[in-house]
Amino acid sequence: MDKDAYTSRKLASDQDKDILLSMEDVSVSFYTHRGIVKAVRNLNLKINKGETLALVGESGCGKSVTAHTINQLIPMPPGKIENGKVVFEGRDLLKLDEKEIASLRGDRISMIFQEPMTSLNPVFKIGDQIADVFLAHHNIKKEEAMEKTINLLKLVKIPAPERRIKDYPHQLSGGMRQRAMIAMALASPEPGLLIADEPTTALDVTIQAQILRLIYDLKQDIKMSVLLITHDMGVVAETADRVIVMYAGRKMEEADVYSLFEKPSHPYTQGLLNSLPSNKKYEDAARLEAIKGTIPDLLTIGSECPFENRCPHAMPVCRESFPDETKIDDDHSVWCHYVEGEDASPSSQLVGDQGEK
């Protein structure tokens, strides 16, 4: 943790102006009648302005809880933010009251969900819903807001936006609804952070490709920061700048997207990539290299490395403590006793044929 504390101090001093959001040592638990579920533990992350950070992991890894911590959507109780800070533009979000948070939500921090139907109001027309966001933040007339809405819908590539603004959410297809949600997120005066929680999981693959391309393009056009929550390594490869791999509430690896795919260093990241049938190495293979076992129970988990029971390189020390950060590169860190113990260049040995894809 010392290294992390040092990095965050250093960041606070010289790079402060580039950082949009940072989470420092955040732990979130859920107090259920079965016990305490430790959903997120000691998480540090930062999102720079104009950057797309992907949180990737399987169910139960804490990626959605992390997102919900940022805009305070964790139901409390049973949820509880045990410790840590969430600093957004210099303010600790965890210290704000309900009113201040509400004014940030949908203004500086917007969110799109897996199923857009549930986050659009079914009884209002799409155009009115988006125009309302404009009206809430700008001192403009209704007609002007509508005009801006049409422009936005054009930006997110909804065909015939003049007609679409009169549609109700159920009249749009899944992909169109997701576009409308993105448009709504963009309607706030100065889009700060867009949290996209599995934005394409419910969509068909050809539609997913369109939405991913849209998010990618928008990021180039407008300097928008995106926190992308996904379980899909393919989605990460298509859109992310930086990636954090999470597992059972812990950060396992953090890297620049190119570096992560070139030399995945954590045994879990490697296992995750090896589990993909689309991995090029499987062209003639008879079987996938699967990770054995299942995710540990978040109720009973202690201070060990949570991946220890499934890890091919598990050592006695893995059962005792969670490892400290090991730097692979400037922009590539990993939390693993095995990598820590390896000398000189651990990545080359571990990666094998992963690098040559």
Partner: protein, 321 residues
Amino acid sequence: MEKILEVKNLKTYFTLKSEKFGAKPEVVKAVNDLSFEVNKGEILGIVGESGCGKSTLGKTILKLNHKTGGEILYKGNEIFDLDAEDLKDMRRKMQMVFQDPFSSLNPRKKVGTLLAQPLLIHKLGSKEEIDVKIDKVMKEVGINPVYKGRFPHQFSGGQRQRIGIARALMLDPEFIICDEAVSALDVSIQAQVLNLLLDLHDKYKFTYIFIAHDLAVVEFISTRIIVMYLGKIVETADKKELVNSHLHPYTKALFDAFPATDPKGRENRDPVLMGDVPSPINPPSGCYFHPRCPRVMDKCKLEYPELKEVSSGHKAACWLY
């Protein structure tokens, strides 16, 4: 190669209740005039986006849906003409593994009961024999038999899917339809279950129809692939042939749309296929794909192309070929 299943001009239509009085009821042609064969021991992958009719097709083959026309011949016998006894027999031989491991197991039944049920329905074996069989099958799918007294909700998604597979194995089937069998699972668990299905295939020489929307999964597991779009087969070929030299523009779009597992070169990828999947209620005129097709011709707007054999075993329904 021995044909185990023949589907000829199969049609399954659904009539939707219309909301307005006197309006003509709308018809969804979920499976629209399909013909194909399944050979013994092969893994036939069926891939397509939502609304393409792939799941309806799977259910119709097992007579879990009605059919509107055409034939489904299992070893030469029409499934829809079987009497009750023969149908029960057929159900022994043909099994299904479902998508959702949370809704496909009865929450009120213990795993042991769930697995015993198929044998009890078919009155096969004594209680002891059934118990022995349950232990054997549970081991085979990788679940310790000591857990047979547990309820499904006490297992994780991957474990439940293994139980679903175990249930299908209880009757020693020869033909298994996997309907999105791994789609609801986490990636690392998905890999385990895919390996398990392949292990079982090697050991028992099952014939699989593997239905999925995930092209990568279908591509990995199948020996032959059918690509569907709006109730029609647009292309079919052996796996290698389809992967390396697909013909139909829709097949190409599917391959292109699939997110790569490598960020390199993402700035200059091919443009993605635009437009939405049309509603199967009112499919476009001519070739159903023409409004989205980058290589559309005048002819495509008028007439639906036949599924033609382009090279040996490789068929495509496209006016380009």
